[in-house]
């Protein structure tokens, strides 16, 4: 694919992510922080988010699976997931976490399980989309082009 076609595809794809609420302005902030001293900054931070989130989802599954649920522990994990999703601009994941917190406060196990399922869905969606973004960036650079700035 031509470099300009890839760039066009990149712009369309990332614009859609923002329009559909998968990403918010915090993601743009991370892109703006990236520079020659750390050209892989965004990928590195997002990779940390992937690792962090998957561990937290496993922790949440385990904690909610207990006979007596420790809702304080659940809330602590949700707080962490909300924080890291907010830090990379994963808006939909963050929004699910806000609802999740309310279920924790209400000590509503079924509600929490529903929120966990939603969080997992949103997480895998945004993960897949970000992986596409990174793949497109790699293809653009490999083709000798430059990654369009979205701000």
């Amino acid at each position: 694919m031509e470099s300009s076609d890839l760039q066009r595809r990149y712009i369309d794809f990332t614009s859609t992510l923002f329009r559909e609420g998968f990403l918010d302005s915090q993601y743009t902030q991370l892109q703006q922080l990236q520079d020659e001293s750390n050209p892989e900054f965004v990928t590195e931070v997002v990779t940390l988010f992937f690792q962090d989130s998957e561990k937290l989802q496993d922790d949440l599954t385990r904690t909610l699976d207990q006979e007596v649920v420790d809702f304080k522990k659940v809330a602590a994990h949700v707080h962490q997931l909300k924080g890291s999703s907010a830090s990379i601009g994963a808006q939909r994941v963050k929004n699910v976490c806000m609802a999740f917190r309310i279920c924790c406060e209400e000590m509503n196990r079924e509600g929490c399980l529903g929120c966990l399922q939603q969080a997992r869905q949103e997480y895998f969606l945004v993960k897949s989309k970000l992986e596409t973004v990174f793949r497109l960036e790699q293809q653009i650079v490999a083709g000798g082009g430059s990654i369009p700035t979205m701000w």
Binding site: Q26, Q29, L30, Q32, L33, D35, S37, N38, F41, E44, V45, L48, F49, Q51, D52, A76, H79, Q80, K82, G83, S84, A86, S87, I88
Partner: protein, 138 residues
Amino acid sequence: MSSPRGGGKERGGDGERQIHVLAVDDSSVDRAVIAKLLRSSKYRVTAVDSAKKALELLGTETNVNMIITDYSMPEMTGYELLKRVKESPKLREIPVVIMSSENDPDKINRCLEDGAEDFLLKPVRPSDVSRLCGRMRS
């Protein structure tokens, strides 16, 4: 003595010395982001994942110009770290900035009343870091 705007250097007897910020956050994502924000303003950054490690480092490292810490951390919170720093004759002059994702006025006031230099809401922005530059310990 205030630092140059957006700059990470201060004047010392042996010429310019890079301002050293200790960042404390149990979240690997937030640690990476805050460290990058600070390094973009040319500060030297040491990032640790707990208040306990922060205190260990402060026990050996004499050249810390500011501490920026998350509030909610397991074992020892950022607030507890603030109290320990302000109670220490050796450390009390180091400005401590608290970060939190929760906009809780009671929490914010308590931190400020107990000696925090500032309270930043997460996610932290470059403009937040810019406003800290005049508050570093010289």
